[in-house]
Symmetry: C2
Subunit: 531 residues, 2 copies
């Protein structure tokens, strides 16, 4: 078993210069762990980003194949951590071994998926417009463009996905795949898990001969560590998954830099679900069961948790809501990640309950006991009240469902139009609803990154077509995704070469197309060489 040091890991080396420490807390019994983790100091933050910049001097010219080898090796080293990784994360998060096993598979899978993307090679988006020497009134030059890595990237781990959105999660994988060194700010909820990842990643770095500064881990339970990291002049971009408040603070800090940098923050989302009348008629029981499963998955601590459900009023609808309420009340309260999540949820639900015209059907309280826990909660309001009160769009990060009961389909459309940005929206309908559904699709398309049909939003498939993003406040960068393979574009930047000799061009742009990638040459997609 690993002897945890409680260190930061700066370019491969453990470092604990700081005087202040913190411990993780087992959410199942609220007991603090035995290892003191050292908050990163200003010097350590500086050392990590500087080492990343030094590493970039080498890695910026690494081939895609070499980057792919690193990603595969990192995946293998994470697997080699074995059950200790699962057990450590379970102790720190209470998420349970089945869920964590699945999340590990996804985390490994996306590292390997990016490796595959790199080996195919087209991701650099080579576009070539060759010279037209005889064009009048002036010749057209040869211009060739592709994407390159940008330099050191900071990644802020999330609490709720200690593998998939953490030290070697999606943001790190995509930043690495793009060719960038990464400095991870570990989440203070799972510092031992982060340390295990750092050990595995550093083994992969050694094994593949990558520069030591390709990865650093900063531990920190204070706001200052993150703020100082984002302010570092050598940093080029930030990936973040977490709360609206935390994401916005980092966005603001980055925007106020002398040299602003992009912040790809994935923040709050209430993930509206629309259930059309025919769907309730056809499959009320399955819907209630599926929705309750999705709403309580991971104790409701998913950024894609279905937090708000729009229905049209009817006896059938009332019965559906009652059935759902009963199911939620009957399900045991899950373990929450930590005390901050529990108290945050308590305050958020209380604030919603204090709004006019909100009815609590079940739950609405912290569950006393050994664990951090909050009762599965169902709230209800009317369409008109929802439309009138933007505060009802506040995220409740936990197992909470708010039903918005509309008196007509027109009122329901108006309620959807009033929505702020979200990661997802879902429509449940039957073939008979198709004509009606078009209006909902049309409205919801403006509000989200992903629109689901007859499904549940928890579970985000890691594929090329995925779009895990959406308008503010879901993210600060709605034209990009944090899940799926186009995420690599966040951490690359195009450069065009004009009339540059073939010998000086990167391989992706050379006449012979030595990488055999798809390119757009004079407006035609081709793998052909340029003669």
């Amino acid at each position: 078993m690993t002897n945890f040091t409680g260190s930061n890991f700066i370019a491969g080396e453990p470092s604990q210069l700081g005087a202040t420490t913190f411990t993780s807390v087992n959410p199942r019994n609220k007991q603090a762990g035995s290892v003191a983790f050292h908050n990163a100091t200003t010097e350590e933050i500086h050392a990590a980003v500087t080492a990343a910049a030094d590493a970039f001097e080498q890695s910026r010219n690494f081939s895609a194949a070499r980057l792919a080898d690193f990603l595969d090796t990192a995946a293998a080293e994470i697997i080699a951590l074995g059950d200790e990784l699962l057990q450590t994360a379970d102790m720190e998060t209470g998420l349970g071994l089945p869920r964590l096993t699945g999340e590990r598979g996804r985390t490994i899978g996306q590292l390997q998926g990016f490796a595959k993307l790199l080996r195919e090679g087209t991701y650099v988006e080579a576009i070539i417009d060759t010279a037209l020497p005889d064009r009048q009134p002036a010749p057209r030059p040869d211009i060739r463009r592709m994407r390159f890595a940008i330099g050191p990237v900071a990644v802020f781990s999330a609490s709720n996905f200690p593998f998939a959105f953490a030290a070697a999660g999606g943001d790190t994988a995509s930043a690495w795949a793009a060719g960038n060194p990464v400095v991870v700010k570990g989440h203070p909820g799972h510092p031992a898990t982060s340390e295990l990842f750092a050990l595995a990643i550093n083994r992969a770095i050694t094994a593949t001969g990558f520069p030591a500064g390709w990865f650093s881990l900063l531990q920190g339970a204070t706001v200052e560590v993150g703020q100082l990291l984002v302010q570092h002049p050598l940093l080029q971009a930030v990936g973040f998954t977490g709360s609206l408040r935390g994401g916005r603070a980092i966005y603001d800090t980055a925007a106020q830099r002398p040299h602003p940098i992009p912040v790809y923050a994935e923040m709050g989302s209430i993930n509206p679900v629309v259930i059309l009348p025919a769907a309730i008629t056809a499959r009320a029981e399955a819907l209630a069961e599926g929705l309750a499963g999705s709403a309580t998955m991971g104790s409701g601590q998913f950024c894609t948790n279905p937090g708000i459900v729009f229905v049209q009023d009817s006896a059938e609808t009332q019965s559906f809501i009652q059935n759902y309420r009963d199911k939620m009340a009957a399900r045991p309260a899950g373990v929450l990640l930590n005390e901050q999540i529990e108290s945050g949820l308590e305050h958020a639900v209380a604030a919603t309950q204090a709004r006019p015209a909100i009815h609590t059907l079940t739950g609405g309280y912290v569950v006393d006991g050994d664990s951090f826990a909050y009762a599965n909660t169902v709230l209800q309001t009317k369409g008109t009240d929802f439309i009138a009160d933007p505060a009802l769009q506040t995220e409740h990060f936990g197992p909470v469902t708010l039903f918005v009961v509309c008196s007509s389909s027109d009122e329901l459309v108006t309620a959807l139009q009033s929505l702020h940005g979200n990661l997802t929206a879902t429509i449940h309908a039957e073939p008979a609803d198709l004509d009606t559904a078009q209006a909902y699709v049309d409205v919801l398309r403006e509000k989200v990154g992903r629109l689901l049909w007859n499904g549940f939003p928890t579970g985000v498939e890691v594929v090329h077509a995925q779009m895990h993003g959406g308008p503010y406040p879901a993210t600060t960068a709605s034209s990009t995704t944090s899940v799926g393979y186009t995420a690599i574009q966040r951490f690359m930047r195009p450069v065009a070469f004009q009339n540059t000799p073939d010998a000086l061009l990167p391989d992706a742009l050379k006449n012979t197309n030595p990488l055999n990638i798809w390119r757009i040459v004079n407006e035609v997609k081709t793998k052909d060489a340029i003669s």
Copy 2:
């Protein structure tokens, strides 16, 4: 001839609610024009953005073909403005008819080029991963993603390109092509030119049946008009071309909104040129002549003006600089756009001259006379002094060249490493220099959006491979371009559809591929239908 009204144009209608007005000034004789242009009021700004949002309710579902028809019609209506457009712009900017004729051609060409891109259709970037119902442990859903328009866009016109970076310039063309209504903040230097564009665009809107709010023109000589526009809650993005100070102010305003929006600001650039020894040996005269032509083009008022030239010290280099100085001194001072540019240039050069170790070889003064003008100016410093003083990277917006004379190629590389972000960099070399040149390419690639070989940076080809951007302070969004056809990506946002019935999918994502576009289906580029 047009009877100029001095109005704003809000959704097709002239409007002059404001009490304060401004006039344009002919830079050739410093005489104010006779038409009083009304600064847009808060109500007019609100009306323009609201009309744009209303227009978007219709236009968001317009086909690419329909958008293309509008762009072609707008191009035709601009041509139909005839010589009056050229003469009006010349009177307001002093840029001269030949240059303005060329710029009109480019402006028309990019509208038509975007129309062609739309008709081809692949620009929506459709990516489809079909379902795997038998996958274990859970089925994979069908996910299909494409890009959509985002909504009302504000475009800030530049002073130095009254056609190509103005009312119907590149930002407007790309925002329209993406499917977005545009509210233009006209530059106060050429309000009559803007009014002509508004008339032409409104005719195109009427002819094609587009909603009136698809375009509005706000006039304004105050900072407030732009600030209020950027703060409007219904605005989704901003395009800007202008000064670093102006662009940063708009970026800051947008970042501080309750709902931040992206600002695509193209700002300052000094466009470094590296001339290797063999190039001077081989073609000193042609280089000096070409560089002087580029540095004085448009009186030096190009964002791609070559403002700084790195050379290695030698007798040949000294002779080259002397020859360049003589050529610059012999060229008549061109007309500057306006008093602000003249005084800004005077202050910027004076500030540089006040730095230690700067030598003025020629120029460095405002030219007295009827016109706004500044003497062609050549300054010189040493590599070590340049490296030590970041203030020497301040842009001089006008016909000013700073030579940085380095004592060795190592010093030259160090000087290049110290550069901030730029739109372009240029290397002049001979075949004998290829090995040396690789190091310069390698350093400069990190600093710019476009790297030229044996050319001059003024003149930005409107092609698919173009990258007119670069790291801050050249732009606020270095992963995007403001020239060329990938600029359309700035104003679109991907949305993914999960398990959505074919009948509810946009055409670009339907099984039959009715638009016959290139799509990536299960990782393969294809135009085939999905069976």
